[in-house]
Symmetry: C2
Subunit: 340 residues, 2 copies
DNA sequence: TTGAAAGCGCTAACAA
DNA sequence: TTGTTAGCGCTTTCAA
């Protein structure tokens, strides 16, 4: 195993000399251009292997303006996004699609405000051909930064419209939160439920939460305010909200919960109060995270999103150089298990 | 907000012309070199802001051989490493240390064998100044690749010695698995436990598992083989192993479990068999993952590792250019809660 | 304190 | 099919 001090790697020139050809020919072999004699290709490949030659990407980039890399930027103010199965799945989709196109995915983190200038310099410095950005929380400065940089970008996950905007300024991919919520509530109505409560996410802070609530209201425009309880997308929050709802409306016979995690908490609260599911109260969740929805008791009827496909879509969008930003809303479908 | 077609960004030349100085002067301002007149600095900064100029890193790299970026490579053959709190914590340490040194961390994934050549080209292509590699599983080809590339690298987490090697070929950081296990078992002995069983990890596959078992044997060289049961670092595996042990050695009064996750399974199995913890059976875990160890019933006495510090250490090692690879073993300490 | 000029390693016309 | 040459945008001597 040859070791070489960093910085003294062989160059294309070394390969050319040793193979007895010109730099251009080596370059052509590396870039798989067709018009090179077969035996020359073989010879050059040999020398490349002998020398452990790896092309210097900086030099290549400088002339091609391509890097072969795409950044995924993960904003995680709470420091826990990383452990989120939803994000994991989204990211897998992005990676697979991009791997198929030969691009290297590099994940960058935004832990705090201090990271922003560094990440901006990185993105703006030509290290990558484009960026996929997950900004799960509002008020981030990614949008403005990206606009200034003029870098191809797709926002994803659960994006937020900027206050006042009706049309998004950037390409994005999102699940059909509103439609999904509508499906869930319609299902409950069509199965004879009459007092249908809702446990929502923080709808004043997250676009997705607001839309899921809007979907509920589409179906039940006259729902009493006391049937709606706001929570925070955590399991405990779901349990607490369920308890509150049961106190306030003991006669409720169904609940639409805006996330599976909260729904698992709600199921627990119902059990603690001796309500049977779905006999006394039907429960529908949102997300269809395999880890949760399939292992609750009873298994959760919930709104499914094809999260990996959303990831792939984001990657594809990055390469479609259209004049206007493209927004894609991915449809949802209801998966009926046992809780409703 | 100015938008500019990508690839037509302003260059240092544009800035120089507009500011009425030479390229060199602009370069000096960018790089904060001292010998520039204050008013010139101000003027150049203005122009940079006006033009939204960001230095082209490829050009810069080409001459400085520095990128300002460090890669973290995560090998995740099972596709789930990402959700591992241990890894999350390690990575946080790496990120914080590197952020403090002004380096941008980029995370690369190794999902399958297909990814290897792409990642190798990326690492070898000069995109980064060094690499931190987590190879939690054996048989990976990262070591060989890194050696050929001649890139500064530190391996981490739970590294594996190559068969036959006694000295590691690369720098690495690891927790003191053997010492930690020893502490745990000594604690059990000193508290009067006499029949101390062990639930181990896959010691034929993972170095860490092998060392934790070795630590157990250091204290109890004559332990009966039927007191040792191998599992797979999962919760269910821990529960199953505990059940087997109880069948085989009903008189056991303590168990050392090689991970918190398995220990939580073991606690469940003990409860199912009606054994009280720590009354009938004392249980000690390993890792001290806050999410698990603090919320079991009873809370777990376990071996603590400062995982974030291990991450920081890896990052530091990367910049210490010593002749020989440096190995650091981070000490552990026993955290006594209620299970033993 | 500033500028001129060389060159980092590569690709991409253009010639041969 | 191959070689020659001119940059890509920056840093870095060396002179001024």
């Amino acid at each position: 195993m040859k070791r070489r001090p960093h910085g003294q790697r062989p160059t294309i020139e070394d390969v050319a000399r040793r193979a007895g050809v010109s730099r251009s020919t080596v370059s052509r072999v590396i870039n798989r251009e067709p018009r090179v004699r077969a035996e020359v290709v073989v010879r050059v490949r040999e020398v490349i292997a002998e020398l452990d030659y790896v092309p210097n990407q900086a030099a290549r980039q400088l002339v091609t303006h391509r890097t072969g890399a795409v950044a995924v930027v993960a904003d995680q103010p709470d420091g826990r996004l990383f452990l989120d199965p939803y994000f994991d799945c989204l990211l897998r989709g992005v990676r697979r699609e991009l791997a198929g196109r030969g691009s290297q995915v590099v994940l960058l983190f935004l832990d705090g405000p201090d990271d922003l200038p560094r990440v901006a310099d990185y993105l703006g410095g030509g290290h990558v051909d484009g960026a996929v950005l997950f900004s799960l929380h509002p008020g981030d400065r990614l949008h403005e930064m990206i606009g200034r940089l003029g870098l191809p970008a797709v926002f994803g996950g659960r994006p937020l419209l900027r206050a006042g905007d009706t049309e998004p300024t950037f390409s994005y991919v999102d699940g059909d939160n509103r439609g999904g919520a509508r499906q869930a509530v319609e299902y409950l109505v069509s199965h004879g439920r009459r007092r249908i409560a809702a446990i929502t996410g923080p709808y004043d802070q997250e676009q997705s939460a607001a839309e899921r609530l809007a979907g509920y209201r589409d179906v039940l425009p006259d729902a009493a305010p006391e049937l709606i309880e706001r929570a925070d997308y955590t399991r405990q929050g779901g349990a607490d909200a369920m308890a509150v709802l049961l106190d306030r409306c003991p006669d409720l016979d169904a609940v639409f919960v805006a996330s599976d995690l909260m729904a698992s908490g709600a199921l627990e609260a119902l059990r603690a109060r001796g309500r049977r599911v779905p006999g006394d109260v039907a429960v529908v969740g949102f997300d269809d995270l395999a880890d949760i929805a399939e292992s609750t008791d009873p298994p959760l009827t919930t709104v499914h999103q094809d999260v990996e496909e959303m990831g792939r879509l984001m990657a594809r969008l990055l390469f479609e150089r259209t004049a206007r930003p493209a927004s894609v809303v991915v449809p949802t479908r209801l998966v009926v298990r046992a809780s409703a």
